[in-house]
Symmetry: C2
Subunit: 398 residues, 2 copies
Amino acid sequence: MPDNAKLIREKIDQAVAILKEQNIDAWMTFVRETSMSPDPSLDLILGMDMVWQSAFIIAKDNQRIALIGHHDAENVKAVDAYTRIIPYVQGIRDNLVNALVELDPNKLALNYSEDDVAADGLGHGLMLTLQHYLNDTDIEKRLVSSEAIIGALRGRKSATEIKRIKAAIAKTQQIFTQVGEHILPGKSEADIAAYTHSLLRPDGLATAWDKEYCPAVNAGPESPAGHGGPQAKYKVKPGMLIHMDFGVKLNDYCADLQRMWYVRKDKSEPLPGKVARAFEAAHRALLAGFYALKPGVEGWQVDQAARDTLTAAGYPEYQHAFGHHLGRMAHDGSTVLGPRWERYGRTPYGIVEVGNVFAIELGVEVKGYGYMGLEENVQVTGKGAKWLSEVQTEVWLI
Amino acid sequence: MPDNAKLIREKIDQAVAILKEQNIDAWMTFVRETSMSPDPSLDLILGMDMVWQSAFIIAKDNQRIALIGHHDAENVKAVDAYTRIIPYVQGIRDNLVNALVELDPNKLALNYSEDDVAADGLGHGLMLTLQHYLNDTDIEKRLVSSEAIIGALRGRKSATEIKRIKAAIAKTQQIFTQVGEHILPGKSEADIAAYTHSLLRPDGLATAWDKEYCPAVNAGPESPAGHGGPQAKYKVKPGMLIHMDFGVKLNDYCADLQRMWYVRKDKSEPLPGKVARAFEAAHRALLAGFYALKPGVEGWQVDQAARDTLTAAGYPEYQHAFGHHLGRMAHDGSTVLGPRWERYGRTPYGIVEVGNVFAIELGVEVKGYGYMGLEENVQVTGKGAKWLSEVQTEVWLI
């Protein structure tokens, strides 16, 4: 991945601009042993794991300071993104306190957030350690959450990031096509998942989320929809809906799509009316959300457009959010296009911005046939939403 | 991995015993969106990712309560490890507060720790959320760190865990043998790493840590030792030491070994005296640590035995810890066999226990030849340490 270091420099430049916009002097990502306890922001501003306590400070005045264990100095230098690299052997404390006192920021943003998991990379124990380090300074009073910085930084995809997401979508669509040819009566959900995984192996590709649940496959009305793993006991039979939720991670970026097939009893069987009506309702609701998705709206407004369209058509509400950011992760944090339910905290109140990429999705149960779930990937432009995936406009027939 | 659910039940049983031992009524792992923000303990007590806020409470009286999003209920049931599963749709708050008030624990252990990263899975933001949830109760005053629970639980490997670690070590040793045949003059560090990765592909194996630095390869005296990635510019030449630090992750468990080769100028060249003396000093220091490693000692005492032996032989101190736990991660948290340096916090004061598995390691620079690093994997038994790896007793000749 030759453009990784370039991408990191792009994102750090973007972070400096966001600090200016939000008038925050400095943002610090403070980590340790990140292979066990990763901070999601580290991928954006460094792109490698750290073993010892390490701090990456990006300042509004364009300083980029890396305080790291001496073992890591060579690797961090190689990224060529930090203007000052301050290595240590026995402990980070003195270097860190000195750097912060010298910087004397109006606010110091740290990675903790009640609402955005992508901005909650700082462990509570490590926060306590930092507070001890800062005991003799008055910086502790200037600590703020970095959630607005990280929300903007993760959410506003750069050109390189959009390119990578598109490549992941293209690969995912290609795999859906191949899998479609493999869905035959007698095959189980587990068979379909295993075949999907076999298509990843030649390129050494990863799934966009936990492999055991990626793809999620639902064959017929008995198979419980949700985040369930594909099971050997549910087998493809004529007269069933087959649903698959899947995405690859390619070059560190994800796709997240759902596709629907109907297994005909014979080649002349038309799509059952009940299935066709459910698809139409779900598809129209998806489009209602798509058209509501534009810069400046709040996340919940997009969800509501889709949700109201679905319920107006006589179907029950889906029990999840309509959309989520898509990027390095299938669920990429920040603003959620979801209802104002307790569990979403303040994330549905986030503002949609140009450059955001979302996966939008919803589904309905079709009694006697199975789960009908649709999901597409879209980019927010100045003019509104734009499809990144090839929209499924009808149920595929088998 | 058919024995995963069994392993999880083993570890939860172990956790209940540890709660009794430590007289803590309840231990709660509170998480959300764990594919982005994993809590290392979740692998031990659940073995899958959660999307929504979820809480797993293990109680001294053997209750095992899972409070989860309704989507995840089927998957959690399938693990068959929780006695009460309480699903929710809109928010976890009421269910969680009710369950805790009903449980009324003397102490409620949570996953935060200044010292042990493996016990610091609770994000600071999520901790704030939990504190808000508990506002109207007095449970907040009973919150304690779970570090002693997690240290014991991760550290005391079960029979199944030891079996898996042994399998990872065996596979890693096999790969070292194959790689040794591939180290030829003209090959670069990057070539050696690429060849190592090619040996993982047929079995779809993962590396024990970040693939870019696993293996770490050092060819000759110019290549900087540390956590550096293998580089194309350093090539194997006669008269060089070749050093490789590597391990596979097999069935979720890791190996972590270092091996040394010397590239002879011709087949009759003996190992240079300076290299032989460095190996002997490093090997003796490693053995000194090995013999100091037994139940009841503190981590730093083991490090000191090795460190003193090395410096007594006239070599400088290594700038890292002598040993670290090995398990699901190459650096598996808890007690460190390391010096009492600031950066290690209290981890060198941890007590070595029966069932612990450590990677023990040290190295010296051999001027003009390269880095000499040795690392073996060992298990702590009632009688002392036991080798799990086939100890390298001499530098391998090429």
